[in-house]
């Protein structure tokens, strides 16, 4: 257990410190992928309704993976914008959701065989957005704002089909703790934002009141001089604080292109 805690501590503290002070931070190469896609979305937010809404979602996903001069480490930055439109079980009310995510991560590159590379790491994550219910009067909107620190892991597997080198990648991320916005049970946004009663609207989060998981699967296929990326992104978000429960599950299938840069 102590080893695990020690590893987590190392991930959270040593990587950013490494990035800040080591002059080998200067990158030597970058891989930027921009993808867009559609999928399903499931939303439950008890500030708005006790029921689960289902529908579709769309996402734009930009990822920069930078290989640092020290080949042991790489840096990852992800900006994701997603929107969703969901309906209640009776199909007579809609929720619209919009979220922006930014993830900043460092990974250590560990070769694990000829074609496989494992990359454990840590990340910081910012998320902001809202879910809007089209029918509610004084509680039409549930705002979301989260700041998290967490762990990330990537498995990269390279194989060849004829002369093409194909890269299969799986990444999983989950937060360990942070802070997030949550209104006290039935506190109205009128009381919070118009009248300024901001007490107890920020909650510390960890496994006792929040769980999130992002599974990301991609395959990079060379096409002429470019690289086509097919991706599947599964995001699960759960929070339960102040007797308010939020669950968001999205599955998105994405398609995009990857650009490679050699940096000097």
């Amino acid at each position: 257990m102590k080893k695990i805690i020690g590893y987590v501590w190392m991930c959270l503290v040593s990587f950013p410190l490494y990035a800040q002070f080591n002059n080998e931070e200067n990158p030597r190469g970058m891989n930027e992928g921009t993808l867009a896609g559609f999928g399903t979305s499931i939303v439950k937010d008890t500030y708005l309704s006790p029921f689960t809404y289902t529908g579709w979602g769309a996402r734009i996903f930009n990822e920069r993976m930078t290989l640092l001069r020290n080949p042991l480490f790489s840096r990852q930055q992800i900006i994701s914008v997603d929107i969703s439109s969901t309906r209640n079980p009776a199909e007579n009310v809609s929720d619209f959701g919009a979220f922006v995510d930014y993830t900043f991560a460092y990974h250590r590159r560990i070769p694990a065989g000829t074609n496989l590379r494992l990359m454990p790491g840590a990340f910081a994550h910012l998320m902001g957005g809202f879910i809007y219910n089209t029918r509610n009067g004084n509680n039409p909107l549930s705002a979301k704002a989260d700041i998290d620190l967490g762990l990330s892991a990537i498995a990269l597997y390279t194989f060849n089909i004829r002369t093409s080198s194909i890269i299969l990648r799986y990444q999983v991320e989950f937060p360990l703790g942070g802070i997030f916005f949550s209104p006290p049970y039935k506190s109205s946004y009128y009381e919070i934002f118009n009248e300024g009663n901001t007490s107890n609207i920020i909650a510390l989060n960890s496994f006792h009141n929040k769980a999130a998981l992002r599974n990301y699967l991609t395959i990079d296929i060379p096409v002429h001089r470019s690289t086509l990326r097919l991706g599947y992104l599964n995001c699960l978000y759960y929070s339960n604080t102040n007797y308010l429960e939020t669950r968001i599950l999205s599955n998105t299938f994405m398609l995009g292109w990857v650009k490679q840069f050699v940096l000097k």
Partner: protein
């Protein structure tokens, strides 16, 4: 290697399967919807203790009237009757075709308002103007009394329009604000209007919210202040005309204005409705609205059942036949008399 790659897929499949468990089914079962309605109110409604309502007893009173053969209309009637036990105009059940509301807060009270008679004053007054639900003019001898009728706080008014209106009244000795039959609307609109009567930041009331599902789970009262508008202010005597149909945001407006020493209320009791309402829904898709946050007056007292006027006046039928509004006439007399200096 194949085994390594299988694990992520298994994890994703497990998460997807977990997601399926979240789905709630559309359910039209009368009993299921009755229980859902009762539970939503049980966990969220804010006046159980104040009104001394035994909500468990209400459940037992109605649950035996329902069974799986109860049709949609019967279910609606039953939910409507159950929610009316809360005696709250902010509690509504809304289906595709029906809308239930509690009207006991204004029934069996004198109306104290005649729209046609009020129009006589408005159209005969000098400097008449109107903007959405607001009509204003100058009344009395030498048009020394300003008159504003604000019919609904659902309608917002621009600061420039308010400036124009108060500019009309700058030579007046007093002002009548008529909010009779104003059933409420947005607190933002009523606060914007009220801020024209305050020359400094003033404590006007308190708000609480539910912090949990228990009937007594409330936050500490949080003070509500009104700050003066940056536009033209009115600091001379004011009389607010009220009747029983002054509800919700209008009740709140009257409560806030009463903290001013130059303001008096005249007419009948307001209708109350001091709970800030939220909306939720039932498994069959019907909407339900209910009070969740009590707004208290400056003395931390509830105004849920209304605010008594400083000067009780009832509309006289003789006056109405003559096209005169008893409340407006009385207010003009007070404002023009020497006594108005005591306001």
């Amino acid at each position: 290697m194949k085994h390594i790659l299988i694990y992520p897929f298994c994890l994703i499949a497990a998460i997807l399967f977990h997601g399926c468990e979240m789905l709630d089914e559309f359910n039209e079962s009368p009993l299921y919807n009755f229980e859902a309605c009762w539970k939503i109110l049980d966990e969220n409604y804010c006046f159980f203790e104040y009104k001394q309502i035994d909500w468990d007893a209400v459940h037992d009173k109605y649950v035996y009237q329902i069974n799986e053969s109860t049709n949609e209309q019967e279910l609606f009637q039953l939910l409507s009757s159950m929610t009316q036990e809360l005696q709250d105009g902010h509690v509504n059940v809304i289906s595709k075709y029906f809308y239930s509301t509690y009207d006991g807060w204004f029934q069996n009270h004198p109306s104290n308002f005649n729209w046609g008679v009020m129009q006589n004053y408005y159209w005969s007054g000098e400097y008449a103007g109107d903007y959405n639900e607001i009509r204003y003019c100058r009344l009395g001898d030498n048009e020394q009394v300003g008159y504003i009728y604000y019919g609904s706080f659902s309608e917002s008014i621009l600061e420039s329009e308010l400036n124009k209106m108060f500019d009309t009244f700058k030579e007046c000795k007093g002002l009548i604000i008529d909010v009779r039959d104003n059933g409420g609307g947005s607190l933002t609109n009523s606060d914007r209007f009220a801020s024209r009567f305050f020359d400094k930041k003033t404590l006007c009331g308190y708000i609480q919210h539910k912090t949990g599902k228990g009937h007594q789970d409330f936050s500490n009262p949080y003070p509500l202040y009104l700050e003066p508008s940056h536009g033209d202010l009115w600091l001379k005597p004011v009389i607010i005309l009220t009747n029983r149909r002054c509800f919700s945001a209008t009740n709140n407006f009257v409560s806030k204005m009463k903290v001013l020493s130059n303001v008096q209320t005249l007419g009948g009791s307001t209708g109350g409705g001091s709970g800030f309402p939220f909306t939720s829904e039932l498994p069959n898709g019907w909407r339900i609205r209910f009070s969740t946050s009590p707004i208290l007056d400056v003395n931390k007292q509830h105004t849920e059942f209304g605010i008594e006027p400083d000067i009780p006046v009832t509309l006289s039928s003789d006056d109405t036949e003559k096209g005169r509004d008893t409340l407006i006439e009385t207010a003009i007399q007070i404002l023009l008399s020497a006594d108005s200096s005591t306001l």
